[in-house]
C-alpha cells in the first residue's frame, strides 16, 4: 500500500515535471523568431532568387547553341522532349530543328537531359511559377515550326558556348502567356492522306498570329470530319480538337499518344518555307 502510494505520487511528480519541460520549450519558441514566411507576398526577394543555383526548375533551351544532337531526348526517361530535325530546303547541307517541344507538365525535373548536352543549351532554371488553366499550355516550344533554327556547329576545341542568361528565355515565354489562355488545339497526328496538301497554305498565316503556342492550327480535321477545309470556322476546329484527343490513340500506330502536337505541324513546314 505504502509502495503503491509512492509510485502514484512519483508518477504525478514525473508528469508535472514532463509538462514543465515540454511547456517551457514550447513557450520559449514563442519568443524566438518564426521560421515560417508568408508566401508569396512577404518574401523579401522573389522566391526564385532565393533558390540555389542548382535548383531544377523549368527547362530552358537556348536555340542559338543547340547542336540538334537529340541527346536530351534520348536521356529523358518519360519522353517529354520531342525534337525533329530536317534538312533546310534552301541549303541541303544545313540541318534545321523544326520542332523542339518540352512538355513541362510531364517533366519530372530529374535533370538527366541536362547532363549529356554538349553545349549546355538545355538547362534547368530557377523558374517554377507558371501555373496555367490548361495543362497543355505548359508545352514549351523552343523551335518555331514555321521558322526552324539551324543547328549550332561546335568549333573545334571550344570550351565556352555563348549562352543567353540562364532563365531569361523561359521567363520571357512564361510572361508572354496569359494564365487562362485557351489551350492549343492539338490535332491528332495526320494519317498519310495526300489530298490534305492543298488546304494548309492559305490557313497557315491566319493561324499563326493567334498564339505562339498554337501553330498546330493549320493541320486540318481528323479522319472523320473530312469535308470543307477552306471554310474552317472556329467551331469546326474546336469540335475537331475535342474529337481529336480520343481519336489520337488509334490514329497513331508508331508515336505514343501524349505527343500529338508533334506530328501535326511537320508536313506543313516544307510548303510554307519557300
Amino acid at each position: 500500500m505504502n509502495q503503491s502510494a509512492a509510485t502514484y505520487l512519483g508518477n504525478i511528480k514525473d508528469t508535472v515535471q514532463s509538462f514543465w519541460h515540454g511547456m517551457s520549450i514550447t513557450l520559449s519558441y514563442l519568443l524566438r523568431r518564426p521560421t515560417t514566411i508568408q508566401y508569396p507576398d512577404r518574401t523579401p526577394l522573389p522566391v526564385r532568387d532565393t533558390l540555389p543555383p542548382r535548383y531544377r526548375g523549368f527547362l530552358e533551351v537556348d536555340a542559338d547553341i543547340c547542336t540538334g544532337c537529340q541527346a536530351c531526348e534520348r536521356a529523358c526517361p518519360i519522353g517529354c522532349i520531342q525534337i525533329n530535325l530536317e534538312k533546310d530546303a534552301a541549303n541541303p547541307k544545313q540541318r534545321v530543328v523544326t520542332q523542339f517541344d518540352i512538355d513541362e507538365a510531364k517533366c519530372m525535373f530529374c535533370g538527366l537531359c541536362v547532363e549529356p548536352c554538349p553545349t549546355g543549351a538545355i538547362q534547368h532554371t530557377r523558374e517554377f511559377e507558371a501555373s496555367q488553366r490548361s495543362v497543355r499550355n505548359l508545352t514549351f516550344r523552343w523551335a518555331d515550326p514555321l521558322k526552324p533554327f539551324p543547328v549550332y556547329k561546335v568549333a573545334k576545341g571550344a570550351e565556352y558556348f555563348p549562352r543567353a542568361p540562364l532563365g531569361s528565355l523561359v521567363r520571357a515565354k512564361i510572361e508572354a502567356r496569359r494564365w487562362d489562355a485557351p489551350p492549343p488545339e492539338f490535332l491528332p497526328p495526320e494519317a498519310p492522306k495526300p489530298p490534305a496538301a492543298k488546304a494548309p497554305p492559305p490557313a497557315a498565316p491566319v493561324a499563326k498570329p493567334s498564339a505562339a503556342a498554337a501553330p498546330a492550327a493549320p493541320a486540318p480535321k481528323p479522319a472523320a470530319a473530312a469535308p470543307v477545309p477552306e471554310a474552317k470556322p472556329a467551331e469546326l476546329l474546336k469540335a475537331a480538337a475535342e474529337t481529336a484527343a480520343p481519336a489520337a490513340a488509334p490514329a497513331a500506330p508508331a508515336a505514343p499518344s501524349p505527343a500529338p502536337a508533334a506530328e501535326a505541324p511537320v508536313p506543313t513546314t516544307p510548303e510554307v518555307k519557300p
Binding site: 514532463s18 519541460h21 520549450i25 521560421t35 540555389p52 542548382r54 526517361p77 530529374c110 547532363e115
Partner: protein, 382 residues
C-alpha cells in the same frame, strides 16, 4: 478479407466488429487499409491490406533502362529517396563491375546520412502526433526543412533528389556548403537534447509506449524485420557495419540497439528511441565524411560507358536505408534494359508482423505499433 467478413456475417450474435482502419486515415502513414476486428476497445486482430499505392515501379524499370530508372527510385520511398538512389546505383555498378571513386562514396555517405536524419525526424515527429502530441511534429518538420534546403543546394531538389548516378554522384559539393552543414549539425545536436526533454522522456509519452507491442529478437528475425525495427528488438545488425559498402568501413559510428530504455526490449519505445539515437550517429558520420571531403580531392564519377549495357547476370545490392535494409535484385539479359528488377524494402517486411502482434492490443496501441514500425506507404507497395 472477404472470408473474414463472411465468417462474421454468418456467425452473428457476437459483439465484435469489423472496421476499416484506413485507407485514408492520418495515422496509417499513407494509403494503407487495416481490417480491424475488435471486441470493444481490444483488437482480435488487424489485417493489413496493402496495394493502394502500387505504381509498378519495378515494371517501369524494365522499360526505361538503367540510367533512366534512377529518378523513379526516388518515388519508391519519398521520405528517404537518397537510399533508393544509392541502392540502385550500387546494384548497377555491381552488374557493370565499376569501381566508384572514393570522393563519390563519401559524397554518397554525406547525402545519405543527411537524408536519414530527415527521414527519422519525420518518423519520430509523426509518431508523436499519432500518440497525441501535436507539437513535436512541427519541430521535426522545421529541422527537416533545413536539411531539405541543404540537399537542395547540393543536388537541386528537395524531395526527389536523383543525386546518385551509376558510377558516382551528379554534383560535387557547392561552394560554402560544408560550413552550412556544420552550422546545422551544431544546432541539431542541441536540438536532440531539447527533443528528448520535449517528447522522448515525457512521462505520458513513455507510459503510452513502454511495453506496448513487444517484438522479441527472435520474432524480429523470423519476420525478417530490418533496420531500426530489428535493432529496436535488440538484434545488433546494421548493414553499414556488418555488410559494408561505400565509404562506411572507414567511418566510425555506433549502432544503437534497443536495450529496454523505458520498458522491455523490443517495445514501441525502443523502436522509437533507437531512431533518435541513430540521428545522433548520422550527424557524427556526416561530420567525419565532410572532414574527409574537405581534405581530399578527386573524381566524382567513374568511367561509365555511354550505353549502359551490362553482361547477362544477376546481382543483389543491399544498403541500409532509413527504413532498414533496402535491396535491389536486378537480372540483366545483356541488353540496355534490365530483364527484371525487384526492390526489397523495409516497410513491406514490417507490415507482415502487424497481424501477429495485434491480438490483444488496444485500438490506440495499434496506431502506436504502426507508427513505431515507421512504415511509408509507397515503399510498401512500390
Amino acid at each position: 478479407m472477404e472470408k473474414l467478413i463472411m465468417r462474421r456475417m454468418h456467425q452473428g450474435g457476437t459483439e465484435e466488429m469489423i472496421l476499416n482502419f484506413g485507407p485514408q486515415h492520418p495515422s496509417t502513414h499513407g494509403v494503407i487499409n487495416f481490417l480491424v476486428e475488435t471486441d470493444g476497445e481490444v483488437l482480435r486482430r488487424a489485417v493489413p491490406d496493402v496495394g493502394y499505392l502500387h505504381r509498378s515501379i519495378e515494371k517501369i524499370a524494365e522499360s526505361v533502362g538503367y540510367p533512366g530508372f534512377m529518378p523513379y527510385t526516388d518515388r519508391i520511398d519519398y521520405v528517404a529517396a537518397m537510399f533508393a538512389n544509392e541502392g540502385w546505383a550500387v546494384a548497377v555498378e555491381k552488374l557493370l563491375k565499376i569501381e566508384v571513386p572514393k570522393r563519390a562514396q563519401y559524397l554518397r555517405a554525406v547525402s545519405c546520412e543527411l537524408c536519414r536524419i530527415a527521414s527519422h525526424l519525420v518518423s519520430v515527429g509523426t509518431m508523436a502526433t499519432d500518440i497525441g502530441a501535436t507539437t513535436p511534429l512541427v519541430h521535426g518538420i522545421r529541422e527537416r526543412e533545413s536539411i531539405n534546403d541543404l540537399i537542395e543546394a547540393l543536388c537541386g531538389a528537395r524531395l526527389t533528389y536523383n543525386y546518385h548516378r551509376i558510377g558516382g554522384v551528379a554534383f560535387d559539393l557547392p561552394a560554402g556548403w560544408p560550413a552550412k552543414v556544420k552550422v546545422f549539425l551544431d544546432h541539431f545536436d542541441k536540438l536532440l537534447g531539447e527533443w528528448d526533454r520535449l517528447i522522448s522522456f515525457n512521462e505520458i509519452y513513455v507510459k503510452r509506449l513502454a511495453g506496448v507491442a513487444v517484438i522479441t529478437g527472435e520474432q524480429a528475425r523470423n519476420y525478417g524485420l530490418v533496420g531500426p525495427n530489428l535493432r529496436g528488438s535488440g538484434v545488433d545488425w546494421d548493414c553499414r557495419r556488418d555488410a559494408p559498402y561505400g565509404a562506411y568501413p572507414e567511418l566510425q559510428f555506433e549502432v544503437p540497439v534497443g536495450k529496454g530504455f523505458r520498458g522491455t526490449v523490443g517495445d514501441a519505445f525502443d523502436r522509437y528511441y533507437v531512431r533518435v539515437l541513430e540521428m545522433r550517429e548520422s550527424a557524427r558520420i556526416v561530420r567525419q565524411a565532410l572532414a574527409w571531403l574537405e581534405q581530399n580531392e578527386g573524381e566524382i564519377m567513374a568511367k561509365v560507358p555511354r550505353k549502359v549495357k551490362p553482361e547477362a547476370g544477376e546481382v543483389l545490392s543491399r544498403v541500409e536505408s532509413a527504413r532498414g535494409e533496402m535491396g535491389y535484385y536486378v537480372v540483366s539479359d545483356g541488353t540496355e534494359k534490365p530483364w527484371r528488377v525487384h526492390v526489397r524494402t523495409g516497410s513491406f517486411l514490417a507490415m507482415g508482423i502487424i497481424e501477429d502482434l495485434s491480438p490483444g492490443l488496444m485500438v490506440a496501441d495499434l496506431v502506436a505499433l504502426i507508427a513505431s514500425l515507421d512504415v511509408v506507404a509507397p515503399e510498401i507497395d512500390r
